[in-house]
């Protein structure tokens, strides 16, 4: 078989997208996830698209994220430099919130599972005290006795010289009963002990979980298909790399969605977009400028759990469909962050919650079809329950009639979503006129009109299947491998040849990982970035270098020019005369997969306006009820233009076209919503 299947296992549903590239056909499927037995859900999903014999399977998983958020991982041990076992627990001396002094922190490795050994490396790489390997073995044995299933070796200044860590790693492996052994320099060879320790410890914590999960999947596939995993940076990796560096799977599923968004938009002719994923409890946005997703160097999963590895930058605010609307003591209407979740869910679900949610407001306003809820589990929604909840908790306190109160809830939610989008776009200097919104999931397309209006976005591109975007992203993602190395070189008098040699070697090492992954690529690109600053600064700017894979042509002048241009992109003034330092070298090898032909999504020949027409209903817009046309979205032909007010319905999403807007079906089956 030559098919490739993308599988995104989410909390509620497992989504699949199967592409047969030769036959130019695709299949989608949505099956319930199996919480606690994700592997079975995975196999059930495969069965829905023809079974395990496929060719390649690319998987976006939340096993890592959920393990962390729910603290379901195993007992792990840490072996560290004498005097420093509490680094992991002391964090960077922060607290949960700026205001208010309550709340504590429980580290993922208990204090009695963190053991110290004599050894010390200085910040310039000098080994002040060699590691005592017998002590390391003794510590490892003690951790085994205390029940550790994985271990991380974390030494101070290992980024500057990994010799002691490497020797300790070998000593641990002498006695450790499994492969779950992590050394901090292998996960993150970068200065800042807490961030490196946290990343390494989380890697150890996830290793047994992710490895056994991947092993279960591979066993079930029985060699009939080759399995790959999506990383948090949107690239895919081999299962071997996933087992070694599971910390890189933390945002696996959402990252795949962003990859799909970028590719869908590009095929539709847009290079600049903002993806908007409206879920039950949160609204996730990410920005793609010039076809490239923004990547963050570090993410905090929750207070004290820091992962420093490149991740697609996803900004989350607590405003989802289940977010509760309430009036605070100062009389201000708020939406979220408290959420009714999917259980008990919005008041209109009739499952016990009586406080109004954003979804309740959308139901009252007629935008969501109460007779046809998404997902197919509920038969219908209780509009009256939604109205009562809104009236009691928002309408009465604010002196608004229920319809107006519902509209106000939507408007406040729109404003919060617009704020999140502004944070990643305008506030970073991107001109909204050049960006389009791409809503995912069931809810995003309900809000696109407001987002266009509030932010001044050019238009919104609603993909043909908003509900399976992450699964599609799995099929589209390129294999990728990232490495970082703290180098600490002064720019003045830089020995560019030596640096180029070092870069080339790192580039070849990263490329080799792509080759080993065994997924067909047309070519492999190697991208170099330097983290640089003026000597004395502690933060850096990331400086992309315009050089080829061998870094040939690298010179001091070229690096300086690149630095100054990156610095000015972030700050208003250069500091001429001050020394400049190269702190770290970042290398990414990306295997470019053959282009995906999005014309498979073209509406078929039988589509027509007549077939798509599904009547009219009253929907609230601009302070009053309007007769609004309703359409079956997937039956609309290419070239159709639907004027607002209109509602487009499909099994996995609802699209609202506001008065004054028009929705056009493009040649690839997207609906482009824009001012008429």
């Amino acid at each position: 078989m030559s098919a490739i299947v993308g599988i995104d296992v989410g909390g509620t549903f497992t989504d699949l997208f199967r592409l047969d590239a030769e036959a130019r056909t695709f299949t989608t499927a949505k099956v319930p996830s199996r919480r606690g037995d994700e592997a079975q859900g995975f196999l059930n999903g495969l069965a829905a698209v023809g079974g395990a014999a496929q060719g390649s399977i690319v998987h976006g998983t939340t096993v890592g994220t959920n393990t962390l958020l729910e603290r379901r991982g195993p007992a792990i041990g840490v072996i560290t430099t004498r005097g420093f076992r509490d680094v992991l627990e002391m964090r960077r001396r922060d607290r949960r919130r700026t205001w208010g002094l309550w709340g504590d922190f429980v580290p993922i490795a208990d204090r009695d599972m963190r053991l110290e050994v004599a050894e010390r490396t200085l910040s310039d790489g000098t080994i002040r005290a060699p590691v005592d390997e017998d002590a390391v073995r003794a510590a490892a044995r003690q951790l085994i006795r205390q029940g550790a299933q994985a271990v991380a070796v974390i030494f101070i200044n290992a980024f500057a010289n990994a010799e002691n860590e490497r020797r300790a790693l070998a000593a641990v492996r002498d006695v450790w009963p499994n492969d779950y052994v992590t050394a901090s320099h292998e996960v993150l060879s970068e200065i800042r002990e807490f961030e490196r320790a946290s990343t390494a410890a989380i890697n150890a914590y996830l290793q047994p979980v992710v490895a056994s999960y991947v092993a279960k999947l591979e066993a079930a596939l029985a060699g009939q298909s080759k399995l790959h995993i999506v990383q948090s940076n949107g690239g895919i990796m081999s299962t071997a790399t996933a087992r070694r560096l599971p910390v890189r799977t933390a945002l696996s599923g959402p990252a795949a969605g962003v990859v799909a968004g970028a590719a869908l938009a590009k095929a539709a002719g847009f290079d600049n977009l903002i993806t908007c994923d409206l879920g039950g409890t949160s609204f996730d946005v990410s920005v793609i400028a010039n076809g490239k997703a923004a990547v963050a160097a570090q993410t905090t999963i929750e207070f004290g759990l820091v992962i420093r590895t490149p991740m697609v930058e996803i900004t989350t605010i607590g405003a989802g469909g289940g977010s509760i609307a309430w009036v605070d003591r100062g009389g201000l209407l708020q939406v979220g962050p408290e959420s009714a979740g999917s259980v008990p869910g919005p008041a209109c679900y009739g499952q016990g919650n009586t406080r109004p949610t954003l979804t309740d407001a959308q139901v009252v306003l007629g935008r969501i079809n109460a007779a046809r809820p998404l997902g197919g589990e509920l038969k219908s929604l209780d509009v009256e329950a939604a109205r009562r909840a809104i009236d009691e908790h928002v309408g009465t306190p604010l002196g608004l009639a229920p319809d107006n109160a519902a509209a106000a809830i939507v408007r406040v939610a729109d404003a919060r979503m617009a704020g999140a989008i502004r944070l990643v776009s305008i506030e970073r200097g991107h001109d909204p006129q050049k960006f389009v919104a791409m809503p995912f999931g069931g809810g995003g397309a309900l809000h696109v009109g407001a987002l266009i209006r509030e932010i001044g976005l050019r238009c919104a591109v609603v993909p043909r299947f908003p509900g399976i975007t992450s699964a599609l992203g799995c099929v589209l993602a390129d294999p990728r491998h990232d490495m970082v190395q703290t180098v600490n070189l002064m720019l003045d008098g830089l020995q560019a040849d030596a640096l180029a040699t070092r870069m080339g070697a790192a580039g070849r090492q990263a490329s080799a990982v792509i080759t080993a992954a065994g997924i067909p690529v047309e070519r492999t690109d190697v991208i170099y970035e330097l983290d640089m600053h003026y000597l004395g600064q502690t933060h850096t700017v990331s400086v992309p270098l315009p050089v080829d894979a061998d870094a040939s042509g690298l010179s001091e002048a070229l690096v300086r020019k690149a630095f100054e241009s990156s610095y000015l992109a972030s700050f208003s003034r250069l500091l001429p005369g001050l020394a400049v330092r190269i702190v770290s070298l970042r290398v990414a090898a990306i295997g470019r997969r053959p282009a995906f032909d999005f014309s498979v999504f073209r509406p078929d020949a039988s589509a027509s306006l007549e077939r798509a027409k599904a009547g009219t209903r009253k929907v609230w817009f601009d302070g009053g009820w309007r007769d609004t046309s309703v359409w079956s979205r997937l039956a609309l032909p290419a070239g159709a233009a639907i004027e607002g007010p209109a509602i487009l319905e499909q099994p996995d999403a609802t699209t609202v076209i506001e008065p004054g807007h028009v929705g056009r079906v493009d040649a690839l089956g997207n609906v482009i919503v824009e001012p008429a």
Binding site: W99, L101, D124, R329, L332, G419
Partner: protein, 559 residues
């Protein structure tokens, strides 16, 4: 003018806060000294055109500045009124602690946002510069008796005049610091932040119109006031007293009383500090503006739903006589202000604990422990490592206190030891939680820390410390016990020594290979220790948070 609808108000509130937040982020990322870049000892906001009152404040800036910046902007407004030469493109610079709060290291930049020839609002940036001259590198001079020994004082001056930087002023600044390059970098970072704030606020005004934003700012202030009144009204009427003490003033070994009478009457609150000690010889004095600012910080921690603007101070009356150490003027030394304001905050927490014991928390560790290590580099340049340290937060109704947190006046993260070691000739030999440092209680106080540092420099390393809680521990609340005392030890040729003024150190030098060790307090406990869950006590002992001896003593636990 028609009042703004609540929805537009919510939208604009988010936009305004975002401007200040992004100013914060711009400075952190471009600053030179780790106290700003890593520890976020800085703040940005928008201030009222006529009064200087805080309109909007960044959420990540240092909490203490939230209250203090209004006084700083007012100082510039007064200067403009005297001189009458304000123009677009001007930026003022100053660090006068008597005219704007805090201490000499906190350098403020204030710039008008002009609309049609008038000031619409002020933008301001404050950041802690590493060194501003004086007798002690890093400026935490524990035995200063006049502000002149603490550094150089700058009244509000025009750093930028009609868009032109006044190089003369830059040159004077550079000549008066041990680390001029670091200050120059930080100054540029602050200007980056102001540039960005000016652009963003200008764009917002263009989008919504000046009148709308004006109305929004007024409404947000009214809302903060309403929320503060509601919080005060929820407390029982009465007067609640709390007295606490500073160890000494760094000059004379005599405790200094901080005394508060907190009165609730309906929806108003009076904070009366009249019974506090008179001005002291050493640097533990503070100016009135600093006292008001730290009261604001304490109240914000107690009433977390009140937004950060001047409206929340409207229902509060302050009694801060200038005959106390909380209302001094120049040239009384104020370099140790961090310790005094933490104690003022503790008295507010203590008085609140009497008014509402079930909602209180044990006191936090509440000492900054400003440590400077300094020496000479090979080429005759000075190096100054300045750092302040963490400790435990108090046990509280929700659970145990946080281990190794930051102080209530701060959201500062600690610089990574690997960064410090890469910049200065020092090596940390311990960075650990301190057992038995949290106050016992139903919910135990969080643990303080132990930091031990070895000198690697060939020449002498000078040691300076300004800390507190060496004699009076952080108290518990609602029946909880006190935390451990602060402790500082340094190595001499004759063994370990403890400084005579406990947590205040000057004139100490260590040689290569010798160490200093700081052990910080935890937080006070919450609730009667006898009611602590025995499983939690056993866990504390297993994990080494509490030793078996302490468990037997404080919890009557069998070992």
């Amino acid at each position: 003018m028609t009042p703004l609808d609540p929805v537009t108000l919510a939208v604009l509130n988010g936009r305004l806060v975002q401007i200040a937040d992004e100013m914060d982020a711009t400075l952190y990322r471009s600053a030179f000294n780790p106290i700003i870049a890593e520890a976020h000892d800085a703040c940005h906001g928008l201030y009222h055109a006529q009064t200087g009152a805080t309109l909007v404040q960044g959420t990540s800036g240092l909490p203490i500045f939230v209250g203090a910046m209004a006084f700083a902007v007012k100082a510039v407004i007064d200067k403009v009124a005297r001189d009458g030469d304000l123009a677009a493109g001007d930026t003022y610079l100053f660090n006068d602690p008597y005219d704007g709060g805090t201490h000499l290291n906190d350098v403020r930049l204030v710039r008008p946002l002009m609309r049609g020839g008038n000031v619409f609002a002020w933008l301001a940036s404050v950041g802690h510069w590493l060194d501003v001259g004086g007798n002690v590198p890093g400026n935490f001079n524990a035995k200063a008796t006049e502000s002149f020994q603490e550094g150089f004082r700058i009244p509000p001056v025009k750093l930028i005049r009609h868009g032109v930087m006044q190089q003369d002023i830059i040159d004077i600044l550079a000549a008066n610091s041990r680390v001029p390059q670091s200050n120059w970098g930080d100054l540029n970072g602050q200007l980056n932040a102001l540039d960005l704030g000016e652009r963003r606020l200008g764009a917002l005004l263009d989008e919504y119109g000046d009148e709308t934003i004006h109305a929004a700012l007024a409404a947000l202030s009214a809302r903060a006031e309403a929320l503060m009144r509601a919080n005060i009204a929820a407390l029982p009427d009465g007067t609640y007293r709390c007295d606490d003490f500073l160890d000494n003033d760094g000059v004379t070994d005599r405790p200094l009383k901080i005394a508060l009478d907190l009165t609730i009457a309906g929806d108003r609150m009076t904070l009366d500090f009249s019974r506090s000690a008179p001005p002291c010889d050493g640097p533990l004095n503070i100016a009135r503006s600093t006292t008001v600012a730290c009261c604001y910080v304490a109240l914000k921690h107690l009433f977390t739903d009140v937004p950060a603007n001047a409206g929340c101070l409207a229902p509060i009356d302050f009694v801060i006589p200038d005959t106390t150490l909380l209302g001094v003027s120049a040239p009384r030394p104020v370099g140790g202000y961090t310790e005094t304001i933490l104690r003022v905050i503790d008295t507010i927490f203590g008085a609140f604990a009497k008014a509402a014991p079930e909602r209180a928390n044990g006191s936090p560790f509440a000492t900054i422990n400003a440590l400077s290590l300094a020496g000479w580099r090979e080429h005759g340049k000075r190096w100054v490592m300045f750092c302040f340290f963490g400790g435990g937060l108090g046990g509280n109704p929700e659970g145990d206190g946080l281990n190794h947190g930051n102080n209530p006046i701060s959201t500062a993260t600690i610089p990574p030891l690997e960064i410090l070691e890469s910049l200065y000739p020092v090596m940390f030999t311990q960075w650990a939680l301190r057992p038995d440092s949290g106050g016992p209680g139903k919910h135990r106080g969080g643990l303080g820390a132990i930091y031990e540092i070895e000198a690697l420099a060939d020449g002498a390393t000078d040691v300076f410390l300004l800390g507190e809680r060496g004699k009076y521990p952080p108290p518990g609340a609602n029946g909880g016990g006190p935390a451990a005392l602060n402790r500082f030890v340094f190595e001499t040729d004759d063994g370990e020594a403890i400084p005579p003024l406990v947590s205040k150190v000057t004139d100490v030098k260590i040689r290569r290979g010798q160490k200093v060790r700081l052990e910080t307090p935890g937080g006070g406990g919450f609730g009667d220790p006898a009611t602590r869950d025995p499983e939690r006590i056993a866990r504390d002992v297993r994990l080494g948070y509490v030793t078996a001896e302490a468990a037997a003593r404080d919890y009557k636990a069998e070992s």
